[in-house]
Assembly symmetry: C3
């Protein structure tokens, strides 16, 4: 990494030079480019309907045509207006700009006509940017980038997420913090301190220390070619803290139901490129939580939460669906994770001017988070910059 | 235009270098200096009353004294406060600052006294900036600049606007876009696509294609010394498009009542410095629409719409006034032009950071708009900059 | 003052070079560092309670413990979150961060534990910034800076304020202007023009000219070592203006009850570092108004108004307290000073981009204000900059 490296707009040169071996991560305010990101659930886009979403700064329009979803940039080539502000879809496969009739094909982005000027030489030669789309596990994934050929989706989701027998349910909402504060809040093992009053603890019995820190061997870097890239943290190799002490006085205790098993509500977590957390055995035994922090812009992310459950029969599916609605959504995705969302939003201002990345004072257990920053810097496929949005 | 040219505050050097022969137009975010601009209707300022208006970034106060209108900058010399925030007019000809009693003469801007310090040497030697004012056709025109002698008003309005037998009525409102997007929206012939559902079409029969594009000879540059400077577009020399086709299917048709006459709702348009459109035979036969896009600041303009009608008798005047209220105002200035206002405001964000001016992708008929950008760059009398406001 | 002097973030080099011998004052947007500032009244912070306040850009938390008030920066060392957003005070002397359990001692700022990670080497070695606090005359003063030893409070308050027999009552509110516009509005003798309609004048008889200007000898610079630093203006050496004249016509008169005594509502004013005004014989005879303009950030200040009255007996105290509530608060601190607050907020925009400091046009009596700018530049103990807040 040479001194000559050009800094993208909005990145501070002085900070970039101080962060050392996680410079890419620091620069990736808008997220990493050339990765697959889930943006909505499949159930949210019915046949023939349209929706708009902003991802990595890109204003996207999605439409489902004959079952397949297509995504194009929501900005007319001509005068830059959002097509979605007044969508004119005269045919199933096209969208026409309300201003001068520039008409684009959903499947390719090609400019197929200019209604008000059908002889233009631009027709058939220019196009709006289109984005590859793929659906899996009930999610719509969009590829933001320009790689060819495309990397397989399997490389951008945590191991196990695409398993055939995994049933996935979830929800999403927008959070007012940078996406990296989402990743770090989720993967950070010390932060369980904020969950000490969670109602999830009242619903189900589990050991829940004040905090727990990794012993040697707990952290594993996963950097196999052809697979997902991530950092795994095994809680069975953690040292729990059961009592909070101030001035020699115990001031707070973590409940301990079982003297042997479990140092947390889950058995381990892992964080994967391009920004997705896997939580094993959570929010309940036998379940796995997968959650994405998808950049909207530099100050917001889509928090897309899912829970996976192994199912074999239709009965299993119905039972999980009922449990999801009755318990895991209110106590887990809303209650428990509500604390996390609040924490990210309150943390945002300190990092918003970038100096937080060098003024923060990490402690020893944060070393797992630093591993993530370094791995993400080594293994990402590109940094999204404001220039990519022009 | 040399590389050494100094770029005004708020202008991007990289964009300025790319736009070539319409660099002045690009730089004129705040409008062109040393021109006459209409700011309000005469009927809006009664004898002895005051109003404030911002034009080209200038905060102005206007007052009518013995029938004549005077305009001064709304900012005390002393500590820079707006005099209008608490106007103290102790005499007919003066306004006194509410803070320390600095007193200015409306007619000249001269500092005639400091009530709290009547011996100050500043008195009689300093003054607030005053602006020449002229009334014509029921409009109050203000000259923003410092030329001496003043150019005649005739050079800053479209031909015919000052004709003795023309009766002019109108309205105004503020629009949240740069003034140039107003000019371009109005002069652009392709944009009639957005008016395809106008209620004006239901009131009066006229041919209304999907779009129409200029044949050779339609565009005329008007650059006579001593007259207004503008670009004229003659719709009788246009090629109309009656049907919108996508993938070999007709998806939209423009109504055609008369197979011979007329390729649009009007017979032609022209755009004039410093930013005023003339629409011939519009909104109805025998009428002419004149509309100004007066810069307020970089992101807003006053949209001042007028309709002119030739009248001979008092009966003619009454008839036009009735028609204006009953038809042309609701169906034309509000309904038809409401689409234009919406379009300008939706276009604004793409140009707000200036890169829109080089990222836009114009098509062939936009060449008339480029002629306007070039003419405006050649013929303006100066560019208003933030320094002019200090 | 050499050309090489480094300019703090947010300060304009071109302006800094033009202001000459009051450059420090110009640069002190965020106030002067290493001074004592009153931030709240003692009665507003009861035993065991907490409050937050921003001063000179510093987010502070204050708590009263065993009668004494302590102040620390409201920002956790770890991830920069405000501790006050969800205060966890497990012991009387500490506050614990809600996010990961970093625990700080109120008295020193020392990091005494990390509840979720009690073995961290950071514990006992790092600390959050703490700020010296002192209470006097019912006010809580905080020292923003890093001097050692601390200057005595007596050097940062006007003469007489700490007198044993002075009873002090008051109120505070936030004003949307830079603190310097507060100082200048208060010390400026011409500004009495804005008070000409004050209801205070109806309550109590006093001479109240349109304005009054200093004769030679009225202004005294007070720069004794070991004492407060300020500028005094003696109104008995002023020349009053009783009539406002425009174009040879008297348009406004100042009421004159006593042909001999008094050229204003008070007998004199003085302004002291770090930004506090003393008004003698005001708002009533025998009283003294002391008012602070405490910087919150570059665009706001706490306006902390107090009135001092010499008292000997408990009866005196009760009488003053009653008079304060019934008269001096509504007619003085609210009514009379309400005009001042309004004026400061209306003046703010002209100075907000800094050019106001060189574009203003001062008149002769403003020379006393210039003396203040120069004295403040000579005698301050440091300039608060954005770097001090990191």
């Amino acid at each position: 990494m040479s001194e000559q490296r050009e800094v993208p707009e909005g990145v501070r040169e002085d900070v970039a030079e101080m962060v050392g071996d996680w410079r890419d991560y620091y620069e990736a305010k808008l997220g990493f480019r050339n990765h697959w990101y889930p943006v909505r659930f499949s159930r949210e886009l019915a046949e023939g309907e349209m929706l708009t979403v902003k991802v990595l700064g890109e204003p996207l329009m999605l439409r489902r045509i004959d079952g397949e979803v297509f995504a194009i940039r929501d900005r007319c080539l001509h005068r830059g207006v959002p097509l979605s502000r007044k969508p004119d879809c005269y045919t199933k496969d096209t969208i026409t700009c309300w201003y001068h009739g520039y008409t684009y094909r959903w499947q390719t982005g090609e400019l197929v006509n200019i209604l008000a000027c059908p002889d233009s030489k631009l027709i058939g030669k220019r196009g709006i940017q289109s984005f590859p789309v793929q659906e899996a596990k009930g999610l719509i994934f969009v590829f933001i980038g320009d790689m060819d050929p495309l990397p397989p989706l399997e490389q951008d989701v945590p191991p196990g997420f695409l398993d055939d027998d995994l049933m996935v349910l979830g929800k999403h909402r927008d959070v007012n913090s940078n996406w990296r504060l989402g990743c770090e809040n989720g993967f950070d093992t010390l932060h369980i301190f904020i969950h000490k009053d969670t109602t999830l603890r009242h619903y189900r019995d589990f050991n829940f220390p004040i905090g727990h820190t990794a012993n040697p061997g707990a952290i594993t870097l996963v950097e196999n070619e052809g697979g997902p890239q991530g950092v795994e943290d095994d809680f069975s190799k953690h040292h729990p803290v059961w009592e909070g002490v101030i001035d020699d006085r115990i001031v707070v205790r973590g409940p301990r139901h079982n003297k042997v098993e479990g140092t947390s509500a889950s058995s381990g977590t892992s964080i994967w490129l391009p920004g997705v957390l896997k939580v094993d055995g959570f929010p309940g035994p036998g379940l796995t939580q997968f959650e994405w922090y998808v950049p909207i812009d530099a100050g917001r992310h889509i928090y897309l939460q899912t829970i996976g459950c192994k199912v074999e029969t239709e009965e299993d599916r119905v039972e999980f669906a009922n449990e999801f609605e009755a318990v895991w959504k209110p106590h887990g995705l809303d209650g428990f994770n509500g604390d996390d969302i609040w924490a990210r939003e309150v943390t945002e201002p300190f990092y918003a001017d970038d100096y937080g990345w060098v003024d923060e004072m990490l402690c020893e257990p944060d070393s797992s988070m630093l591993e993530w920053r370094r791995l993400a810097s080594r293994r990402n496929r590109g940094i999204q910059t404001p220039d990519d949005l022009r």
